[in-house]
Symmetry: C2
């Protein structure tokens, strides 16, 4: 592992300079940054790797799954319950938080960790994805994006610099460059325009980044056009980011296209930086993407499906509203160590869903998160033992495509 | 404390007889019942008493507050979280459970304790209150009540015997006789009719009761007509129930009427049986009713108000949607040991309510339940120390009428 240093000067009496300025009396040079990424082991028969990501709020073992806490909470789940699922790094959405409660409020409270009562690592996205998926009336140009709040229609402008500065102020451990996300399908000319903008915005995000304790990740775009992915990845790597995300996937292109694109992209990224496949995915997506060299994943599937009475199990999905469960005293999954499985029958869960009791969504979300974190632990273990490729082959043959 | 015995014969090889029958070879007489009520201390200047109610699923210190888990769950709260609020005895509604998931299902699962994952005491109401408040097309006669399910309109018939047998099968530790609940205001002739029916149904419920491990409580009705309350209480006491509830209050009659009626009624009830004021109430209601000799209370206030961003504190209510809390880093209540107060700022809670995040309702419900259980602990402590009357006077002078 190479020790890396912040490009920010330190100033003992004042702390880290948040903006570059002359400080001839205090500044004594660069400071060792508080984050690092270390590869602990690699699989011999695939691109899979096991790593340790160190952040200002603790360490994350990779490959890692990141639960989604959109507006500063994983829906219905307390931080204590979330910890018990084995989750370490969690995601919050810049777009939602900048609208409500607003960056000033989060900053006044002492940052996102305080708002969310989460003392472990947090990642914020840049808002790019939501601008294109949630916002009506989005106007985009080479500088940035004007959008109307999906809550009250208020016009808000976001560009490379402001998206970065907002994330500096929110205070997550990992932050993302603003990118232009493309839908699927998308013409090559549109994909190209998005890549050009994403590159230009990444270039501008870097000098705008003012908190050396945060890792800044850039996002590779280009849809499923591998040439554009190559171009985008190479140009971003030249800019030397703390990590690289693969964006614009899991938007309808399908498993094969997704994995081909991820695999192509990871091969272009530096080995010593974490790789993050955004918004992915099913257990099969994750296993295949780890095999392709991906280290991090975030996805709403375990929690959104959990709220809809859909439980992940090693034997395939369980739909808990089904009549089949009406008298079933078994837990969702035998042997599962989650709070739900240790305490509740399928019959009780079915009853909660049928009567609209919110315990149902909570308990199945907890189970699904535990299922995902157990999957990640298994992935890390098989990489460690150099058994990952065989295990993944076997899993992908028999795995249920959720 | 007088040791009481079940009127049910025991039969060592077969266990407790669920119905009376001849068993000359096995039966060796009566069995000591698994429940008891013991008065530990009484307040010298009021009717308040501190007691210990023993049930088949454990002991309950009285005066006790009983959280409401209508359909087999306290909304959004896991059993583990509920335990942490200091709650011991919880309530579930027979009416809701008989409709969904149905008595057969609950019985097949092994009873209500299994369904709810609650190993401590449970109380079920008889369904009487809901028949009059929730059900359209209720037809009542001297035998029982025909009602249409508020879910699918299906016609269901409930009478003294079936309400008792259903509760035998649900398996709560404390069950209630079917009663006729009256609205407020209500004519004396209507009140009288309801008292006559409530008495007749209680008389029929007793022999129908088939599980000696459950305490069977009768309910005193009579609105705010003290003569009718006297008549109802005296007749019920002759029938010798395990406990007595005061029903038909907290329906709009106001604090003074409620406490006058409760006080009048408790004086007519045997000292050695628990007294339960149903559906009550605010902190002031509870303190005044304890002073009047009540031992048990159930109410949706802490949880329903919690879901509506209303927090109880010693300094009065806190409405967490208010702009005043936007940057407030303080907990709901300084020094409160609940999970919410130990971890979340008012600002975070406000944010959760404003964004519709279900963590808000969960966390404020937890705080409010803890607030109520702390109030009950304080009540028990002041009775123990013979300081209750003074403390109650002081509280009732300054207490905020929620």
């Amino acid at each position: 592992m190479t020790t890396r240093y912040s490009t920010f000067d330190t100033c003992p009496p004042l702390g880290v300079h948040r903006t570059e300025h002359a400080c001839p009396e205090h500044c004594r040079g660069s400071r060792r940054i508080r984050h690092s990424f270390e590869i602990l082991s690699t699989d011999h028969r695939s691109a899979a790797r096991r790593g340790l990501l160190t952040t200002a709020h603790g360490k994350v073992e990779t490959p890692a799954f990141i639960p989604v806490g959109t507006a500063g909470a994983v829906k219905g789940i307390t931080p204590q319950q979330l910890k018990e699922t084995g989750s370490v790094l969690i995601l919050a959405n810049t777009y939602h938080l900048m609208l409500r409660p607003g960056v000033d409020v989060v900053e006044n409270l002492g940052g996102l960790h305080k708002l969310m009562t989460w003392d472990a690592p947090i990642l914020t996205d840049s808002g790019g994805y939501q601008l294109f998926s949630l916002s009506p009336l989005t106007k985009i140009d080479d500088d940035g994006v004007e959008f109307a709040s999906h809550i009250d229609g208020a016009k808000i402008y976001l560009n490379a610099e402001s998206a970065t500065k907002i994330q500096n102020r929110l205070g997550a451990d990992i932050i993302m460059c603003l990118d232009q996300c493309t839908p699927f399908p998308c013409s090559d000319s549109e994909l190209k325009k998005a890549v050009v903008r994403t590159l230009s915005w990444a270039k501008r995000a870097k000098p705008a980044h003012e908190n050396p304790d945060q890792l800044l990740f850039a996002i590779v775009q280009g849809g499923i056009n591998l040439d554009l992915r190559t171009h985008c990845a190479r140009e971003l790597v030249k800019l030397d980011f703390d990590g690289y995300a693969i964006g614009g996937l899991s938007v309808g292109e399908g498993h094969e296209n997704m994995i081909r694109t991820a695999s192509h992209t990871t091969a272009l990224l530096p080995k010593d930086r974490p790789r993050y496949l955004m918004g992915v995915g099913t257990p099969a997506d994750i296993i295949a993407a780890v095999r392709a060299g991906v280290d991090m994943f975030d996805c709403v599937l375990p929690t959104r499906n959990g709220r809809n009475a859909f439980a992940f199990t090693e034997n395939g999905p369980l739909r808990l509203r089904n009549n089949a469960h009406i008298n079933d005293t078994r837990p969702i999954e035998a042997g599962c160590d989650c709070y739900c499985c240790k305490n509740f029958s399928r019959a009780a869960l079915r009853h909660y869903f049928k009567t609209g009791e919110y315990l149902g969504p909570i308990l199945v979300s907890l189970h699904n998160l535990r299922f995902y974190q157990r999957l990640m632990a298994r992935i890390r273990q098989t990489i460690e033992k150099n058994e990952f490729a065989d295990w993944a082959d076997e899993q992908l043959k028999m795995i249920i495509d959720y």
